[in-house]
Point group: C2
Chain length 237, copies 2
Amino acid sequence: MKKNLNSKVLPRVTVDLVIFGLGRQGLSLLVCQRQDPPFVGSWALPASAVDIEQDESLDHTAKRILKQRLNLHASYLEQVQTLGNQHRDTRGWSVTIVYYGLVSANQILMNSLQPEKCFSWVTIEQVKSLHLAFDHQQLFESCLQRFQSKSLYTSLPIFLLEEEFTLTEVQKVYEAVLGIKMEKKSFRRRLLEGHFLEETGNIRRASHRPAQLYRLIEKQPYYFPRIIEGARHQSLS
Amino acid sequence: MKKNLNSKVLPRVTVDLVIFGLGRQGLSLLVCQRQDPPFVGSWALPASAVDIEQDESLDHTAKRILKQRLNLHASYLEQVQTLGNQHRDTRGWSVTIVYYGLVSANQILMNSLQPEKCFSWVTIEQVKSLHLAFDHQQLFESCLQRFQSKSLYTSLPIFLLEEEFTLTEVQKVYEAVLGIKMEKKSFRRRLLEGHFLEETGNIRRASHRPAQLYRLIEKQPYYFPRIIEGARHQSLS
DNA sequence: AGAATAGTGTCTGTTAGACATTATGCT
DNA sequence: AGCATAATGTCTAACAGACACTATTCT
């Protein structure tokens, strides 16, 4: 019953990344233009085969793609699902481990200034019209859904902001991620009663009353004891 | 840059299963005794390599293991995580996709009557002392944690019961899964206000007041709008 | 009648949402 | 002064927990 270990019986294994960032137009996805067949020239998620000589683990593969190919650092990275079947890649049975990652606002500007690179940020509304290669549209939607539902009870959207931020900016990024409007007082109460933010002492000035700046105390997301209930009453898209 | 497709550059890919059932001693795990090296004779999770000739998808691999090797049907099956690195299997780089599954109470009795089979049910307290092979202890703990935290806001534990059940049995299975005591009235109110149960019209008789029997309306788990808050005040193990 | 469990009535505390109000800096 | 946004005060509705109480069947 022992199987012969050749490539005919082993699936191809890749890691695909769904990277979210906060652009001027709202929540955005990082997409790459494919260099090799199949689907040359199409937009696709950043991905790479697992390199068992170089990578220590799957998490390491995900970070390698971000670092080497995109020169980005994710403030948060989470494995979402693994898809494997014989149809998703025309070259045969393939398995992909899908992660989503969040990058902070300052990194987006830096990268979008290099148009010669073959990647681009598109808003999540624009993604559908891109016709991503393979089953990447579906992978994107799974990750978006996971990110949105986790945003109902965690501090995750804050990982899209810069290190210092005002409470109003936090509310805006939640609204961008969830696609719903939120009530100011209860939102701020919720944030502050979690005790995962601290005042930096600095102040954001504009042509009106200045706002206190905050930062995250921990690098891990905070889990609220309840979900945002408004999400039950407003539409999520 | 094209890679040569031989087994040297492709990791081994397996599916591992964490199967929960409700035995007389409480929440239990299904373990198998290994037939082949490495770890011959040790207890381990039921697992199999992905067979790209036979399996259509990873989900199919999981169901095949349950059906062919264990003759079980899972009332619920969920992919939890994928672990891949060069250390977890002495034979080299390996990737495992881990699922947890729930089997209903009636199936447990049937199977535990066949001691010649090389598998067994052990309570989740006993698992630690078994010293499961590979990193299976860790995979088990991830799945238990996922199952427990999801039980705080879903109807999942009910999938461990038979088709018809009383509300008291539902409370007992939640208490077994979560390891906490719950308050009767608020628990029942929560269950009934979800409108995912229906009375079967039948009655469970015993030497006291008989109880109404219920069944699940849908085969999918119900998601409660809030978590069980008592979990914040009592210990989860 | 008494045991045992099924099932209900109702009070309380917590917290999210709503919305009005005050505070502060800029032009 | 007037604008714009920051920040707060406070009422209400929803709902989980607590706990006492009633209901029903069996022995």
